[in-house]
């Protein structure tokens, strides 16, 4: 049996005395949309940072198609096929929208110093391809990032479009696995709905595997093949949305926390 696309196995990450992740294990199968839910501080974003190499795990292993990526620099992991967005949008604000997406293509192109100075035919062709692919990934969002917007600096975009551009940039890295960190945070209901469709389309049209951290339960319900619930850096439940939503530990994690806050 071939291994799952992504395997997270027994990952522990401590910050000082605090364990942000505690022996966390889960798998993501090819072609699925998996959501990670959990209260604030459950360690959801830390999982992403460990998977993409920003933090090395203290214990455990992360494997992509059975090959460990632990210890690789983030750019190598991106090249291996994991792309991500950030919880607080991180674009290159002064580069144009198109350039942002073109940076995503960086790891799929190879023009070197000599080629770039001389502009050999091969480099010209590659640059053209980069431009086309970047445009394609922007076009994934329909008219939102099309036309004149592509020449605007990224900071001039509206908030929702910044989120979309970040996803387009991640798409341009041509990943196998897409990590989305709270993609609908700060979006209005209409935009949230639209984004839900985009996530589904990533799976259905682009054949991507998507791991998404999400707070909006309507989105989670709408997109997820599987849901993983975390609390205090541990996995507390896993299954379909209905299974997880009715899990006692999950309810306690959300509601119990509320009681504490109120008390």
């Amino acid at each position: 049996m071939s291994p799952a696309l992504l395997e997270v196995e027994g990952v522990t990450k401590r910050f000082g005395g605090l364990s942000a992740l505690n022996e966390l294990s889960f798998q993501v199968d090819e072609g699925q949309i998996v959501s990670i839910i959990g209260p604030n501080g459950a360690g959801k974003s830390t999982v992403f940072n460990v998977i993409t190499g920003l933090y090395p795990p203290d214990e455990g292993d992360v494997r992509l198609r059975g090959v460990s990526v632990v210890g690789l620099a983030p750019n190598r992991i991106t090249r291996a096929g994991i792309a991500r967005t950030f919880q607080n949008v991180h674009l290159f604000p002064n580069m144009s929208v198109l350039e942002n997406a073109m940076v995503g293509m960086h790891c799929r192109s190879k023009a070197g110093v000599f080629g770039s100075i001389v502009r050999t035919p091969a480099v010209k062709r590659e640059e053209e391809t980069v431009r086309e692919r970047a445009t394609e990934s922007l076009d994934f969002f329909g008219s939102r990032l099309a036309g004149y917007r592509q020449d605007q600096p990224a900071f001039a975009l509206s908030y929702a479009n910044r989120r979309r551009l970040e996803m387009a940039r991640a798409l341009a890295t041509q990943p196998a696995l897409m990590l989305l960190d709270e993609p609908t945070a700060g979006m209005n209901p209409r935009e949230t709905l639209e984004l839900r469709d985009h996530i589904v389309r990533m799976r259905d049209e682009l054949a991507l595997t998507v791991l998404v951290i999400e707070h909006d339960m309507r989105v989670v319900k709408g997109v997820s093949d599987r849901v993983i619930a975390c609390d205090y850096g541990r996995k507390i439940a896993e299954g379909t949305y209905e299974e997880v939503a009715n899990d006692e530990q999950v309810i306690e994690a959300y509601l119990g926390r509320k009681h504490e806050e109120l008390g």
């Binding site: 949008v89 674009l91 640059e127 929702a160 979006m187």
Partner: protein
Amino acid sequence: MGASARAGAIAGVVTIFLAAVGLIGNFTDLNLIGTQVTFALLMIVISPVLAGYVVTSPRVEGGERVAFTLGQAASAGVVAGALAGAIFGAFVVFVDVFGVDRIRPIFLNISPTLMDYLTQDRPAIVAAAIIVAASVAAGAAGAVYRVLPDGIRKPLGSAVWVTLLFGFLQRIVPIALDQLDIERDWLYSKVTRGLTWPGAILIALVTAGISVLKARQGETLRGAIRGRGNGERRGPLTLTPLSIVLALAGLGAVLIAPHVLGSVIAEVLGTVMVFALLGIGLNIVVGYAGLLDLGYVFFFTLGAYSLALLTGATLNTFVGSTDPAVALDLNFYVAVPVVIVIAAIAGVLIGAPVLRLRGDYLALVTLGLGEMIVVLVTSPWLGPLVGGPQGMLDITNAAIGNFGFRDPKHFYYLAFAFVVLALFVSWRLANSRIGRAWTALREDEQVADAMGVSTTSYKLLAFAMGGAIGSVGGALFAVKIGSLTPASFQVLVSIQVLGIVILGGIGSLPGVIVGSLVLVGLPGLLREFEEYRLLAYGAAVVAVMLLRPQGLIPNVRRSRELHEEDREQDKWAGDVAADEHVAQGPSPLGEGAG
């Protein structure tokens, strides 16, 4: 009122400072226009003028900009000028009472010449009164100038500063005119050396006329642009016949420049181009990749000395010239590629240990690395190789056949060729996959890494490319002067080159050229001011940072980065107005653009 008094007081103190460093006393004979307008006079009135100008900047009242009326402006300028004049006048009286001879041992430049000029044989108290009157006039002039309508203000302003500039260029323009056999006594007097009054008035009128014409032209241009749809994309540069003619004329002017302007200016321009090369190189490191390198002299030194060693230069010793411990005897054009490779490798070696450092830490470490090379070339340890403090002699003149390039007029062409080449390389790199990676790295290193840009490789590449271009600057410098001593390779070089990059506009290639013309060319031409070069240098960089932080010819992207704070505020308005569906919820506005 309070603001005017404060500005006036500062202006008065600044004038005392200018007098104390000798910018007044030493330049009473530097006539700009006729015998009346001297550099000394300019130094006396400049501060009150600026004070008057500054205090009349539009106020913000109730959220609106309120400009001064003519009367208000004049009175504010008078107050500022009066206080400035009073302070400087008091200084004159004080020096007179206390005695120049007793002050001079400490303030060397507060000299009898200065006092003679300031008092003009009148009692000090009368002189002080005249100074106050002059200051008042100057302050009022500065203030009134500011509130004049644009149609008058701009032509007047450019007429004044262009005329003064021509006054300054009394060493250059007359020489050029003489070389071209153009009668010039009506413009520049041979007696006063400065502009004649008729000449000055002519220049002022012509400048004002051009300014008016330009304003009109701009109006029509703007109208034309507004007429076009703003949705269309900007195409590539279109080559109109006019732009081709202009480009060819420009190229022709650059090519014949050394012959028109003479050896002295050609020599200065050669130095300008050496520094332009250094600037282009440092611009890659600082401007493109965003790595602050304060030790750039390293590559300059490396280039100069490795070229010397590769092309068979000799050591300068007490007993005459001897061969260095290791030496090759390559042709200059064979040696330069080798120098470039050596410098690129050195760039990687220097870059490797500082990869993890950012900002201030990187700057400090590179500063140290830059100092090291000066110590190395001076040290007895490397003495047998590079001659220690005495340095090296007999460096190749890069001759092609019998055509050597030591002569300033010839060197100009060699340097020009290399500058063009470096500009081309730098420009191509900036507009490529590599340039994009550098920009991403500069904007957000961690995110660039997460998007697949190898931060390590691209930082090292920036150091290597920057170092390679800088080393060519060093190699050309060696050819230019023909001998090397460690004295030419001080930390000051790093600072000067960084100054060029900053003044011109970080990340901007035209900026580097303008920066080197201003910071290296002007001081080279104004030899009288040699002592004040660093003072002017510092003043220029401070002024640019305060008034135009994006540089003289800014790179669009970099100037945006500098205005990030403004943007954060604009976003409130922008976000609401720009998009039809405004992001909801509390978080979006709080979170930054990146």
